[in-house]
Subunit: 179 residues, 2 copies
């Protein structure tokens, strides 16, 4: 019984990891349960032994995806390192982990309360992290908007030069200069 539970939990985590990867990359509507389960090495039918709806998995994958992305971007030493590491072409492109805050911004506003609560929790976490390094709260909020907005907009643009210019501009913050 203990083994079964452990095995089920591991399978569940694998599904969530696949979901976080695929949802952030393609959005809620452009990925089916089928593809998520296939990525986790399972078939569609097994999904409902772990989750009730696609939306449930989405909410959970936002939190999980943020944790995975944070391991890559947020744990750096200084605020400037966090900002610079976040606003890169590699983050904008498909490589590595993607931050749900930036990759799913407008996608989230179409979903139910549960999903938007998950987004709010993750966003508050980023603000707190930025404040920890001495930024005033309003400065931290603005910097978070520049990070998230900068990456989100870059992904929509169809002009490489403009993207590079934008990413660079969003890294230059008056608030950081006076620290």
């Amino acid at each position: 019984m203990a083994w079964d539970n452990e095995h089920k939990e591991k399978t569940r985590q694998r599904i969530v990891a696949s979901a976080a990867k695929l949802f952030t990359q393609f959005g809620f509507d452009n990925i089916g349960i089928n593809e998520i389960m296939a990525d986790a090495g399972l078939t569609r039918g097994a999904f409902y032994a772990h989750f009730n709806t696609k939306s449930d998995l989405y909410a959970e994958s936002i939190v999980a995806g943020a944790i995975m992305a944070a391991a890559q971007h947020i744990k750096e030493a200084s605020v400037q390192d966090i900002v610079s590491g976040y606003l890169t072409k590699e983050h904008v492109a498909g490589t590595g982990q993607h931050c749900p805050l930036a990759f799913l911004t407008t996608d989230i506003s179409q979903r139910d309360s549960q999903v938007r609560q998950a987004y709010t929790t993750v966003f508050n976490g980023l603000i707190k992290r930025l404040q920890k390094d001495g930024l005033h709260r309003s400065q931290a909020i603005k910097q978070a908007v520049l990070m998230i907005g900068g990456v989100a907009i870059s992904r929509a643009l169809d002009d490489n030069d403009l993207v590079e210019e934008l990413l660079f501009a969003c890294q230059q913050t008056e608030a950081l200069d006076i620290l």
Copy 2:
């Protein structure tokens, strides 16, 4: 013949206006051709006399939607007025025209090149408009990211107090103080 063409063009404009309204509010995947045509007072079948694909209409509605939203937000006198008028709870909520730049940000990155080119064009227009009032180019870019990102993130958040705090913070820009 002249009357026919004029009539067809008016119908087409009505479809685009309905599309701009509904797409910005609900995103590409959550609105069907059916609903757009119904909003324009027509049925689904008539769609293909005006457009080839749903994606074609989407690209066109982004440009049209930006023009309509600009009439509401961008034509104000000063940069500070533009920024303040854009970063409001009314803009974030469903009332009035919605700016595609902020309402469809991550939605756009899932679409084809034609759509992303339309987004890029509109974004460049905003930058130009902000530069016209004396902002340096990098300042204009950052301010645009704060506007678009601020509204986009606000729509995803599930916390009214936080939204108000965020909108206010994004209006306070060092670059504007020194003008």
